[in-house]
């Protein structure tokens, strides 16, 4: 009876571990999608409203979920204070601090840091092109993840179950 209960618990743990891993894959995709939405909003604020970046970050950040909300609000605050920092530094520090625990792929985060060096300039068209280029690259990354997502999720779940069964057999 005890062995049965233990087996069920171990298999259950394996299943949960598998679901958790699958969930992380899903969250990674969701976070990238949210980032994409935010950057489209930023593009719109720059192109149509000609809003200053600080205002745009404040407006977009208010409606965003974490970690993006914290990222944008903090950047807006720093820009308001103008504390001896160029925008590229504020942006880069913001990405590194606020998004270090996000599930976005490292290469996309590095490109995001790079994006900050191209914003705020007088040349509106160049900025929009930089934003569009990043959004295009982000879209490719999201497509790669989506294509492999179903398989990865199923794999995680299966591995979770199989892992649980395997450990049970070992222990029995």
């Amino acid at each position: 009876m005890l062995k049965l209960a233990g087996s069920i618990l171990i298999i259950g743990t394996g299943i949960l571990a598998g679901m958790s891993a699958a969930d992380r894959v899903r969250q990674q995709y969701e976070e990238m999608r949210e980032l994409q939405t935010l950057l489209y909003a930023l593009r719109s604020e720059i192109l149509y409203a000609r809003a200053c970046l600080g205002e745009a970050f404040l407006k977009i950040g208010r409606d965003a979920g974490e970690p993006y909300r914290g990222w944008m609000m903090e950047m807006s605050r720093k820009m308001e204070r103008r504390q001896d920092r160029m925008l590229s530094v504020i942006w880069k520090t913001g990405v590194r601090d606020a998004l270090k625990n996000s599930k976005i792929q490292k290469r996309d985060l590095l490109r995001l840091e790079e994006l900050g060096t191209q914003l705020g300039d007088a040349d509106l068209e160049a900025q929009i092109r930089s934003l569009d280029r990043y959004l295009e690259e982000l879209k490719h990354s999201m497509e790669e993840i989506r294509e492999g997502m179903k398989i990865k999720i199923r794999l995680c779940q299966c591995l979770g179950v199989m892992g649980g069964i395997f450990v049970t057999i070992l222990l029995i």
């Binding site: 720059i46 000609r50 809003a51 200053c52 970046l53 600080g54 205002e55 820009m79 103008r82 001896d84 160029m86 925008l87 504020i90 914003l119 705020g120 300039d121 007088a122 040349d123 509106l124 900025q127």
Partner: protein, 313 residues
């Protein structure tokens, strides 16, 4: 009102430190001039001050200009494209930042500036009460006369206009409060930040910020019912036509124009017509000796002198 940004806040850290070391009275600071490779100059009480570093006048670096521009433009130069075409940006508080560099031309017109090599931060000051001596001469039969403030640059036209707007809007013992519409094309009168005026313009004042004067006057007349319309630096034919239209609609006009004297003003074709037709009932001539805002004369429509400020030199 939101907390306004101090003028020193838009300077790079090391320049801010040097300027603060001079311990100047901020309300007497007139200009901060930054030129790449040249000494930093402050215009204070009509005199030049050279902040020192290691015993020598501090020389402005290219990075200093870049950083100042970032702060002045809220890190968003693209949002000021229209203004940069005219060679300046108006920042929070109504301070005007003039700039020179290389013009980018497109189809024979200035599209933008690049390689900015000089910045001139003209500090805007509110002087509540500076219109106390002037306003009584601008009132006739319980009504505000159509008034034109005339002076060369840096003589206090906008400062005086601002206080006139405030007093007319709030009312004085001579005049009940009036609804005032302000077309603040360059954001210098109200110094609007995020739509909120940073300068005191009175409780009955409506401001159209960043709007061209001619269109702005029409919009105000159609929708806000102003009794008085105030505009700064009229000069184009459409501005003058809009003023004539506003007068015909029954609005009283307060306007400013660049000019060293009435004679010089009469030589400008647009204003020659206005003066000849008696559109304006009062002309206030300002100078900057011995101080900015010195009233050199208030004249009626016939050119008769009504008032001249005593020179306390």
């Amino acid at each position: 009102m939101q907390e306004r940004i101090g003028i020193y806040d838009v300077l790079p850290g090391k320049i801010r430190f040097l300027v603060e070391k001079e311990r100047l009275q901020e309300d007497l600071l007139q200009e901060i001039r930054l030129r790449t490779g040249q000494p930093l100059i402050l215009i204070y009480r009509d005199r030049e001050v050279f902040p020192m570093q290691d015993g020598k006048p501090y020389r402005v670096q290219e990075e200093d200009l870049k950083e100042t521009l970032e702060y002045v433009s809220n890190y968003s130069l693209y949002a000021y494209e229209q203004e940069m075409r005219q060679g300046f940006i108006t920042m929070e508080g109504g301070h005007r930042v003039g700039m020179t560099g290389q013009a980018i031309m497109e189809k024979g017109q200035i599209k933008n500036l690049k390689y900015i090599s000089s910045l001139n931060i003209r500090v805007s000051h509110e002087k509540p009460g500076c219109a106390d001596q002037v306003l009584p001469y601008l009132i006739r039969d319980q009504s505000v006369c159509h008034t034109l403030l005339v002076s060369p640059p840096r003589c206090g036209k906008t400062t005086l206009l601002r206080d006139l707007i405030r007093q007319i809007s709030d009312g004085t013992r001579l005049l009940a409060g009036r609804t005032v519409g302000v077309v603040d094309e360059r954001s210098e009168i109200g110094g609007c930040y995020r739509g909120v005026a940073q300068n005191r313009l009175g409780r009955r004042t409506d401001i159209l910020d960043g709007c061209p004067k001619a269109e702005g006057m029409m919009m105000l007349i159609r929708s806000m019912g102003p009794e008085v319309i105030a505009v700064d630096e009229i000069g184009k034919a459409e501005d003058v036509h809009a003023i004539e239209y506003a007068i015909h609609c029954g609005c009283r006009i307060l306007a400013t124009v660049h000019g060293a004297s009435m004679e010089e003003l009469r030589q400008k074709p647009l204003f020659h017509q206005l003066i000849r037709r008696g559109c304006f009932e009062r002309y206030v001539l300002l100078g900057n000796q011995p101080k900015a805002g010195q009233v050199l004369g208030i004249y009626d429509e016939r050119g008769s002198l009504l008032y001249r400020e005593e020179c306390t030199c």
